[in-house]
Amino acid sequence: MKDQPLLDVEGLTKRFGDRTACQGVSFALWPGEVLGIVGESGSGKTTLLNLVAGRLAPEAGTICFRLGAGRVVDLARLPETERRRLLRGEIGFVHQNPRDGLRLTVSAGANIGEPLMAAGARHYGTIRNAARAWLQRVEMEEGRIDDLPTTFSGGMQQRLQIARALVSEPRLVLMDEPTGGLDVSVQAKLLDLLRRLVADLHIAAVVVTHDLGVARLLAHRLMVMQRGAVVESGVTDQVLDDPQHPYTQLLVSSVLAA
């Protein structure tokens, strides 16, 4: 295990006024790993995700990210422009609501093609072929390539958002309740898709969810958050089947069995 982590977060802290949303959170993540973050609403899960994504600035802590070239940068201390330049295409984000991650006024093909153009692709044919290949990869009909996202169902929009987030082949993907607003039948197929993509592309992923069933099937490791702090972490099935902390025990015992 000489290999280095892709992401190494240490002592991350964020306050909103006198409320601590994130309290000294530390974790490391390696390529090919899915880390699940669970906890009830307001426990700080999404704040943590937004800190890692650079959408919020922490009061304290470091977020060391290993760039493709091997150089390690602290995202918490990088100037905005520098961070944007370095991270272009390296970190993808999947929102709970696909409408937050898509551009609704341009076609499906353009939604997938845009990140490629931002990364420097110029040839129309190449971009369109990549968009077509990604539609196939997320199991959407290629014939819908020129349709607007607003004409798609929620599950299809989520697939499109995932294609848009992954087309530039990021090495880290951050997902906020990626299956949250979907029917359970759509949720199952999407979970399978996400898991296969993470394995095939050998990317690392952080998945925030309040659904322990989703966490069990998607995440290799789990962190349980309560009031901004990590109260327990470990291999997913260990945390869920042999929870140690009173709060984790409460969460696990509150799940309704189908």
Binding site: M1, W30, E33, S185, A188, K189, L191, D192, R195, R196, A199, R216, L217, H220, R221, S233, G234, V235, D237, Q238, D241, D242, Q244, H245, P246, Q249, L250, S253
Partner: protein, 233 residues
Amino acid sequence: MSGAPILRVTGLAKSFTLHAQGVRLAVLDGLDLELCPGECVVLEAPSGSGKSTLLRALYGNYRADRGQILLRHRGAVVDVASASPRLLLELRRETIGYVSQFLRVIPRVPALDIVAEPLLERGASIAEARAPAAALLTALALPERLWGLAPATFSGGEQQRVNIARALIAGHPLLLLDEPTAALDAENSARVTALLDERRERGTAMLGIFHDAAARHTLATRLYPLRERNRAA
């Protein structure tokens, strides 16, 4: 060095603290156990005395309170009880297989792909992984018309065979078996037993719970009674 144990457990203790109820349940205490390649050790004790708990602790599904679970992995010895989550996941990919009583998988994934998955996790392509998956399902006599279907609608015996195929596909040198034949009829039980025995002959070490007398008779090279002293008071 084939005589050297693959697993050596010393002084293992496991209890459960239920905070909401203010209860501590002690299950195992001071348990010692050795397992060599080619051995099939069958745990013997009444229901509720901690056999499944022991298997789950060895797999790292439950956290040990005390003691060591020394496992030979990649030519070195590692302690499952104190392994980092990342190492534990590696041990499960490469060295320890586990057949649970229940199949817990993503809904709507076809049986063939569920069986193939452990190979995908090791980096095989889906085409490479499906061939041995199909061979195992054939050996376990799961009708081919079921391979493309998700197991949720399968009978208990069919699900159990998918579960066994999934556990055997990666060829782990150590297998933990929690009643792998419980849901099977006599014919299918004999099929599974024969397949397991063949693996054992080739050097796989096994530790299992078998209530099925025929399976136990065929497979066991040694019985391990979970004595009163190993069961926590």
